[in-house]
Amino acid sequence: MIQALETERLGKRYGRKWALRDCTFKVPVGCITGLVGPNGAGKTTLLHLAVGLQGPTTGMVNVFGYNPSRQTGQVLAKVGFVAQEHPLYKTLRVEEMLTVGRKLNATWDQDLALRRLKQLGIPLRQRIGKLSGGQQAQVALVMTLAKRPEMLLLDEPTASLDPLARREFQQTLLDAVMEDGLSVIVSSHIVTDLERFCDHLVILSASRVQVVDTVEHLLRSHKLLIGPRDRAQTRTSAYTVVTASETGRQCTLLVQTHAPLLDPAWEVRDVSLEEIILAYLSQSNANMTTLEEKKLGVAQ
């Protein structure tokens, strides 16, 4: 079955620094996937690789079965991309920007674009540069929706927006997704954004993929365990510790469970998606630190 996005051992290096490494995952058609990670984790690189703005150093990436570097035309026909900071020609009027889209895309739904802009109350005669940041983001989104893609790739679409504009943007996005059954991959470092509408999650950190899973399964399989400190040492196969913290005699573990927890010494709590994401991000940071320490040790 053709995947909306499929990567295998995908890597991208700039000079000596890896922006993305060893990245293997699949995104099925029809999902809304959140791509989450701190700044510099490789989210933008991954999305640029998917639309042919960058070529991979190692491995491969396919979008609907096409190679974005060699079959850029086929990929662009199926994908709408909103780059970070939603770049548009600031000196053009909104209607001129639509003309650009109409002239450069094989399929273009002008009615849809006009209808959505009218709903949003964005005047067609206004210059892009005079619009607010939120309105500019909306115009960029409308531009990609009007090309009638099968998948949207959005790079931090709401990062520069205030909370109200953010909510409006997400509403436009959700409406479009509901109407057309689009696949969406949206990158963000704002976790609450993703919780609201993503069903899949890819956690990227330190240039590597940490977790690929459905949101539902993530929430179901992760628990917070609170119990006496001495019990933390006993390993069981029932769970994998993601993070652990200790206060006095008490110990708090965020774990991924594989089987029901039967030990009555532990108090078991549900965790939010944000806590899970943060746990994985801090875990990969900790790994990075120990790795750095090991390197230092070898050097000495």
């Binding site: 703005l53 960058q54 070529g55 662009l76 780059a83 770049p87 650009v100």
Partner: protein
């Protein structure tokens, strides 16, 4: 794409168009005026009137007013450069520095097809504008018989302005600007680089390549004083580009000027002794040595120089593609 390219570059194109229009008006106005004067001079000569110097003077005046006008010459020398700086340097750099390349290369057209069209759509108007300009300049020269009556119309000083090379200069400057903008990703530094490199290449070509497109002709003629006029074969043909004119001795070595002056003193007001002068010249075996490019090589040289600049432009075109592919996208 045509619409977008026009929309993005319309201000520069309008300014260029205005400049072209001004030059057209100047050339048409003065060209019509001088062709009237040329007609008057022709009539005068055909009627074998005694004194045509007044008619000749007014025609020469018409011609030199334009040919020796520094503003006219400078604007024609600068026009290709301005094309490179204000159209070429901005074309790609603006997309890269404002980040809009991420938007425009992810519409329906992949970057390589976008680039072909973009460059093609910039080349077309530049080619048209400079083609028209060259046509006008050629018409101006022929309508006023400028080569015959314009004192300052030599090979050398009409080469850069009044020849077809101006078209090749413009295309080279355009591609230079485009490549500099692509490589530097900033439009203002790209403008500066275009300015410096264009001027440097022009100076290098004029001084070190152009004199040697074909081996120059060497002509030596006698310095001996004679009352009969020298035969035509011993003179440098009119409209030639003289690269050097030196006095040499029997062995062909250049002679220091004071040695010649010693002989020339014999012709001076004190002692007008031609025999002694001729003896002096013969004793040292002094002769005049001219190195020059004949005037009839003008169009051949224009073609060679145009070829060089067009080749450079093609190279920069290929380099721009290579740079985006391997330095920006890094396939």
């Amino acid at each position: 794409m045509i619409w977008l390219t026009w929309r993005q570059h319309r201000i520069e194109v309008l300014i260029m168009g205005t400049l072209l229009l001004m030059l057209t008006i100047i050339l048409l106005g003065t060209g019509i005026h001088s062709s009237t004067d040329a007609h008057a001079l022709n009539t005068c000569i055909q009627n074998r009137q005694a004194d045509c110097s007044a008619a000749q003077g007014s025609l020469s005046n018409d011609i030199n007013q334009i040919a020796e006008n520094p503003f006219f010459t400078i604007s024609l020398l600068a026009l290709p450069l301005l094309t490179g700086m204000f159209i070429g340097a901005y074309a790609i750099a603006r997309e890269l520095e404002q980040g809009t390349y991420r938007m425009i290369w992810t519409q329906g057209l992949p970057w390589n097809r976008w680039l072909w069209r973009k460059i093609g759509l910039l080349i077309c108007p530049v080619l048209c504008a400079f083609g028209i300009l060259f046509g006008l300049l050629s018409w101006w020269i022929s309508s006023s018989n400028a080569l015959q009556w314009g004192g300052s119309f030599s090979f050398e000083n009409r080469f850069d302005v009044w020849g077809g090379v101006i078209i090749a200069y413009a295309l080279f400057a355009l591609m230079l600007g485009i490549f500099a903008g692509t490589a530097l990703r900033r439009s203002v530094p790209a403008m500066a680089v275009t300015l410096v490199v264009f001027i440097a290449v022009r100076i290098l070509v004029v001084n070190f390549l152009r004199p040697y497109y074909l081996p120059p002709v060497v002509l030596t003629n006698s310095l001996l004083f004679s009352t009969t006029p020298a035969p035509a074969a011993s003179l440098v043909p009119a409209n030639s580009w003289i690269l050097s004119n030196t006095t040499v001795d029997r062995q062909g070595r250049p002679v220091p000027p004071d040695e010649l002056f010693n002989c020339q003193d014999l012709l001076g007001p004190k002692a007008n002794n031609t025999d002694q002068y001729n003896q002096c010249i013969s004793k040292h075996g002094l002769q005049n040595r001219y190195v020059y490019q004949p005037g009839d090589r003008f169009w051949l040289f224009q073609a060679i120089e145009s070829g060089i600049y067009l080749l450079l432009a093609a190279l920069l075109f290929a380099l721009t593609f290579w740079w985006i592919k391997h330095r920006i996208i890094r396939v």
